[in-house]
């Protein structure tokens, strides 16, 4: 199992954040203490009531650790394709608006 590759995986820390956006499929969270931001699918959040902007949430996490220095070319290529496509579509959209 891959978690054996983590050196600090057992250092669990309690974190809190604030819901800053909710859409039909995701929830966005600012980590308190200016520690970042994340967005995840709704099904990965456990909510007793309807999730709303401004609510506070908590979870346990550890530090994301690099698994190695290797660069995975497939991901790079996907990211690049994605970037180019978005740029193209953006341009097309801008032209349309003009």
């Amino acid at each position: 199992m891959n978690n054996e590759r983590l050196h600090y995986g057992d250092k669990i820390i309690y974190m809190e954040g604030v819901v800053v956006d909710v859409d039909d499929c995701s929830i966005s969270v600012d980590l308190k203490g200016r520690l970042g931001f994340f967005k995840a699918p709704k099904r990965m959040f456990i909510c007793d009531t309807e999730p709303k902007v401004g609510q506070e949430i908590g979870w346990n996490m550890s530090f994301p650790e690099q698994l190695g220095p290797e660069i995975n070319e497939k991901y790079v290529s996907n990211i690049e394709k994605e970037r180019r496509k978005q740029e193209e579509m953006r341009t097309r959209l801008d032209n349309k608006e003009v």
């Binding site: 859409d23 039909d24 499929c25 995840a40 978005q86």
Partner: protein
């Protein structure tokens, strides 16, 4: 915390560990011992080592010869008057740890009662085990079990040897397609399907939110093509005449499937959260119930929806609705096809078997919103028209016949999580429904779909409805399945509890393994089947890899029969161990005398760099 005499009896074969400091010279009683339920965590964290530790039954009544601290495992060198262990009876199911070793052992070992287990190791009391048990003619120790199993079957049958009743039938007429081309009109000539040129504009005009659309025909030679995230895979099928879904005749095209992909105008994928974009042949687990089969042609549509609507419910809905314009045009053509083109006819029968163990399948589907949604009961198989979204229905249970499931009553908007999502085609070939329908030893009374809402209050609202729905069916056993993982495991557990508390044995099926470890558990979750196929037990981003397959359906049925027969199913180990599955499969093969073919996993695909380096 010390334990009571009853607990000590239940845990007679579990390790004996002092709960608090004990002076030399005392006689060991249950009150001196710690509850074995907490040992797994202590062992995991290195606070406790059980090497050489005696069992509770051995130490009770023995005299302590040395003063020991709390949480000290009792070994022979600190005790006087240790009793001989009794044969490890089959009472070990309560706790996972001791039972684990024998079960995980190669199937050849006569594991008492052969069990299938699967284990999910996170959270408390959630271990899962899967017994294959009743069938395990594994050896001497298992003798009692098979006897019981037979009585299950035999016991029910002679009592009322009623005849099988065919409630209704569904005929599938297959038409073979070997080539897909574009042409001036949509038509089928022989085995060639032509799709009208210019149909793209109608797709775009169909929905206000759809801004662009491209159609691509992917043949097997082009499988190594880059593709956006696959949203759905659908069969192309239509009803003959006015027949409702699940009855009459359905015409279906073989050799070709519809495949939907999409982005918004900014180029952001619909429902994007990391995905299965990339080369098709590296990202599709061929021949899974929900996936394309190797060799099939894909009619692949890439829909572009209005910017920023990719995360709104109306975005994915518009994409699915617009794409159905093409499928519907093909359906219209299929209705006119000459009978001489039928390459194969199959008849699916909904059979009731009065007197046999009555079972129901509860399928939990996503209902959190956006693409976490499903259209239920369209007019055409996997169509749009006439269907209601389960989110709009409040995610409450909807009862359908097994043939409606197999006739495409679910048009899945399919949530993210490529490896464990059940796409529309999955229901069309749902393995558990097929196995249960064809198993002469059980009476499948129906299928219940229930959505998984976002918030807990609604989750418990719907799961209570599931409990009452199942209660009034008077079933002897139930399956609860779910796709994906995440907060839907909360209602998954709750459905099992609601059914289990009514005294009905329940087998739960989900992808769990490593990443999908259940977040909650309860005492009714004793029979669990893990749908994982991936080598490392993870969401490996390969489409359909960890979905419910025939082998899982076989294991689940064997386990439910065991449970309905009153046999024990052993607990699984605390940590996920794929050997549990293989052991159980071997036990099933031995008991039924038939080979269970296991499906391939991602290791059979061309290895992308990503997987090579990251995952395996």
């Amino acid at each position: 915390m010390s334990i009571t005499a009853e607990t000590a009896k239940e845990h007679a074969h579990d390790p004996a560990v002092l709960c608090c400091r004990a002076e030399a010279g005392i006689t060991i009683e249950p009150a001196n011992l710690e509850d074995p339920a907490i040992f797994d965590d202590l062992v995991d964290s290195g606070l406790l080592s059980l090497d050489g530790c005696l069992t509770i039954e051995e130490v009770l009544g023995a005299k302590l010869t040395k003063t020991c601290d709390s949480l000290c495992p009792l070994t022979a060198d600190v005790l006087d008057g240790v009793k001989a262990p009794s044969a490890p009876a089959e009472e070990e199911e309560e706790e996972a740890a001791p039972a684990a070793a024998p079960v995980a052992a190669p199937a050849a070992a006569p594991v008492a009662g052969g069990v299938m287990k699967i284990h999910i190791g996170e959270g408390k009391d959630i271990d899962l085990e899967i017994p294959v048990g009743a069938l395990g003619a594994g050896g001497a120790a298992a003798v009692a079990v098979p006897a019981g199993a037979e009585s299950t079957v035999a016991g029910a049958a002679p009592a009322e040897a009623e005849e099988e009743k065919v409630v209704r039938t569904l005929t599938r007429k297959h038409f073979n397609i070997t080539e897909v081309k574009r042409g001036p009109e949509t038509k089928i000539e022989g085995t060639t399907l032509y799709i009208r040129e210019g149909i793209e504009q109608e797709v775009i005009d169909n929905q206000e939110l759809v801004k662009d659309f491209h159609l691509e025909i992917i043949t097997p030679e082009n499988y190594h093509t880059y593709s956006e995230t696959i949203m759905d895979v659908q069969p192309i099928a239509t009803k003959e005449g006015d027949a409702d879904l699940g009855t009459g005749v359905t015409r279906v095209l073989d050799g070709v499937v519809m495949m939907l992909t999409g982005t918004d105008e900014d180029g952001v994928q619909i429902g994007e959260f990391g995905s299965s974009e990339g080369y098709l042949d590296e990202n599709i687990m061929w021949n899974r119930p929900g996936c394309p089969d190797k060799g099939e042609i894909f009619i692949k549509g890439n829909i572009v929806i209005q910017e920023k609507t990719n995360m709104e419910r109306r975005g994915p809905m518009a994409a699915h609705t617009a794409f159905d314009v093409i499928t519907q045009e093909i359906r219209e053509v299929m209705k006119e096809l000459d009978e001489s083109l039928v390459s194969d006819t199959e008849e699916l029968k909904q059979v009731r078997r009065p007197g046999k163990k009555k079972v129901v399948i509860v399928k939990e589907i996503m209902g959190q919103g956006a693409m976490h949604d499903n259209f239920i009961l369209p007019v055409e198989p996997v169509g749009i028209l006439g269907a209601r979204a389960n989110v709009d229905l409040g995610n409450v249970p909807v009862c359908v016949s097994p043939l409606e499931v197999l006739d495409g009553c679910i048009h899945a908007l399919t949530c993210i999580g490529p490896a464990s999502k059940e796409m529309s085609r999955h229901y069309w070939r749902e393995p558990l429904v097929l196995e249960a329908l064809h198993d002469p030893e059980v009476d499948l009374c129906g299928v219940v779909f229930v959505g998984s809402p976002q918030i807990n209050a609604e989750k418990f609202y719907v799961s209570k409805r599931v409990g009452h729905t199942v209660e009034m069916m008077d079933v002897d056993g139930a399956f609860v399945t779910t796709e994906g993982f995440g907060n839907n495991h909360i209602d998954f557990a709750s459905h099992i509890e609601q059914i289990g508390m009514r005294g009905v044995p329940v087998v739960g099926m989900s992808y769990c393994a490593v990443q999908g470890a259940l977040v909650v558990g309860n005492k009714h979750m004793t029979y669990m089947v893990d749908n994982n196929k991936s080598e490392s037990g993870i969401e490996n981003e390969v489409l359909g890899c960890n979905t419910l397959c025939e082998e899982d359906a076989i294991r689940a049925l064997a386990m439910l029969k065991t449970a309905m027969g009153g046999e024990e199913v052993k607990a699984a180990e605390k940590k996920w161990n794929p050997n549990v599955k293989s052991t159980n499969v071997e036990l099933i093969e031995a008991a039924y005398g038939k080979k269970v073919d296991l499906v391939d996993n991602e290791q059979s695909l061309p290895m992308s760099q990503k997987r090579k380096e990251k995952y395996d």
